[in-house]
């Protein structure tokens, strides 16, 4: 019992994101004029790409870093996909592998610059983001391309007509990729580096390997996002990643992962991303004039952040808030 309490306390951030998501989903279902499975599907699809990118962003953030190129990697993957994801099934399969490889290579490059170049992640990924955007523009100067439709249908509809496919994608990714990663030595190293790099070094934690894994993982998930986006929109867009980078940071924070590193997880970020998307949908149906919606979105984000400041009310030692 004590164990359960402790585990809950460690994951408060993620739990709050989950609760927020459930509440918003319920509100959405109630507000929606004609709620049915299609609406649920659409919601799942709208948030899937961001959720995938948010999963990716979580890894570098856990190490105490950041990946500001993740939107560009998404756009690059998307653009590459728009060239390769058509034709006979074996070609599509190869195309998928190629796209994922592109994402991983981009992530690895980020990692190499951060680890061996010893350049701060914020500015390193800012610069590489420009490079990846440039590559995407060279491949796809104008939005377009061709993406196979049957795969697209499989991914964006529902299984058994009830549960949207993205749900299974996420459950699968968490079970097959995230949990083994978290339980591995390198994966634990990601948390260790973010918690205290000096202590991790003195404890012989594989710091370099853990960081490389984190950034490569970010690229991996970003490429999955690019794939999904391609199947969803049936096209490629080199500039399509612009909002994903900053939104993924918001999703990660809402999902309970600390920007200082060391605490949090990928599952919270998935819920964080969907919280962001569902807020949009709720606003859409809430009768708020469409011109005021972006304002509301921004205001909601600010209020959510102010709410996180409520924890300050309990702070009695002012030094505690200075890391």
């Amino acid at each position: 019992m004590a164990d359960l309490v402790i585990r809950l306390r460690h994951n408060t951030g993620g739990l709050i994101a989950l609760i927020l998501f459930v509440v918003l989903l319920i509100v959405f279902i109630i507000i929606h004029p004609r709620f049915n499975m299609l609406a649920l599907e659409a919601t799942a699809n709208q948030g899937a790409a961001l959720a995938l990118v948010a999963m990716g962003q979580t890894l570098p953030v856990l190490t105490g870093g950041l990946d500001l190129s993740i939107g560009a990697v998404l756009a690059l993957s998307n653009s590459v996909g728009s060239e390769l994801l058509s034709g006979p099934p074996w070609q599509i399969a190869l195309g998928i592998v190629a796209v994922i490889a592109v994402g991983c290579v981009c992530g690895l490059i980020n990692g190499l610059i951060v680890v061996f170049g010893r350049i701060q992640p914020i500015i390193a990924t800012l610069a590489t983001g420009a490079v990846y955007t440039g590559l995407a523009l060279l491949i796809r100067p104008l939005p377009g391309g061709a993406v196979d439709e049957s795969v697209s249908e499989a991914l964006t509809y529902s299984v058994g007509g009830v549960i949207p496919t993205p749900v299974f994608i996420f459950i699968g990714l968490v079970l097959v990729v995230w949990l083994p990663l978290k339980n591995s030595i390198l994966g634990r190293g990601i948390y260790a580096v973010g918690s205290s790099e000096v202590a991790a070094y003195m404890s012989g934690v594989p710091i370099k390997g853990s960081r490389l894994l984190a950034y490569t993982g970010a690229g991996f998930f970003a490429s999955l996002g690019g794939l999904f986006l391609g199947f969803q929109t049936l096209s490629g867009d080199a500039n399509g990643g612009v909002t994903y980078t900053l939104n993924s940071i918001a999703a990660v924070v809402i999902g309970g992962t600390s920007l200082f590193g060391g605490t949090g997880g990928v599952v919270g970020s998935i819920f964080g991303a969907y919280v962001l998307r569902i807020i949009n949908s709720v606003l859409l149906f809430s009768g708020v004039p469409s011109l005021a919606q972006p304002l509301f979105q921004g205001a909601v984000l600010i209020f959510a952040l102010m709410a996180s400041a409520l924890r300050l009310i309990g702070i009695r030692n002012r030094l505690d808030v200075m890391s």
């Binding site: 170049g117 010893r118 610069a127 440039g134 005021a292």
Partner: protein, 318 residues
Amino acid sequence: MSLIQRIDRPLLFTGILILIIYFVGASMFPQTLTDKYLLQQLQIASYFGVLAAGAMMVILLGHIDLSIPWTMSVAAIMSTAIAGPGGENSIAALSVPAALLFGCVVGLVNGFGVAILRVPSMIWTLGINAVLLGLQVFYTGGFAPQGSASGFMKAIATGHLIGPIPNALFVWLLISVVMVFILRRTPLGRYVYAIGNKEAATYLSGMRTRGVIIACFMWAGFCSALGGVLLAGYADQAYQAMGDPYLLPTIAAVVVGGTHILGGTGKYSGTVMGVLLLTLLSSVLSVLQLAEGYKQIIYGCVIIAMLLSYGRAQKVTA
């Protein structure tokens, strides 16, 4: 010794690279050798430089201001709206002061969120940016903003009072003088570096750290608004999302100039060089008429190369 190396290297490297880029451009396109071209570059750099001054103050603290784009845009819209069609409203004189005041208010809100609510600056300023975007959409009703730049705005952005020297350069000069004065000669400047190094130690040494943080964000907001006004003067109008392309290059200019992204070290002269470098680079790449994709790639690679030369952190040892 290593600290000095870190500070002077950026100046050296940016200076060398500026010369290289210039000669590459000049050899391919002789029109870049003219005074006119250079002065035009200085004018554009001035808009940029004003933004970078504000960004640098916040980065020195160990924070970051991601609300630059929409503070710029809303300030521009505000100033052109007050100036009215053709810039000839009766209250047009208020256009610039109102916009600058607005910038200070945004900075105050940013400072409040970061210093008092203790929300990480990256995410708070991101949220404020989103709110400002929403305000703009709501206000303009989705249409292009009405109004044009006032005479004064056009004058400071594009005019030439003394010979061929752009007025905008004087604006940048003024901002620079203020920056150098604050950072090198006043206690406030010392506190900025101290907080960027270790906020807890600065607090326990009896400094009013919250006030310093709020003041820096207000300065950044002021500079962002000024940048928006200058751009509106240049384009003779405000347009949606005019600030978006400026965020990343501004931060890059500050960091390439030798300021550490986590705060605590950096010289303003480095920021000036960083602005000049990136402006010239951007412009030469345009003149070369490369595809947009190549421009981005080269831009990113130059930044990485500069950082590998002098932006590297120490190895972690115990």
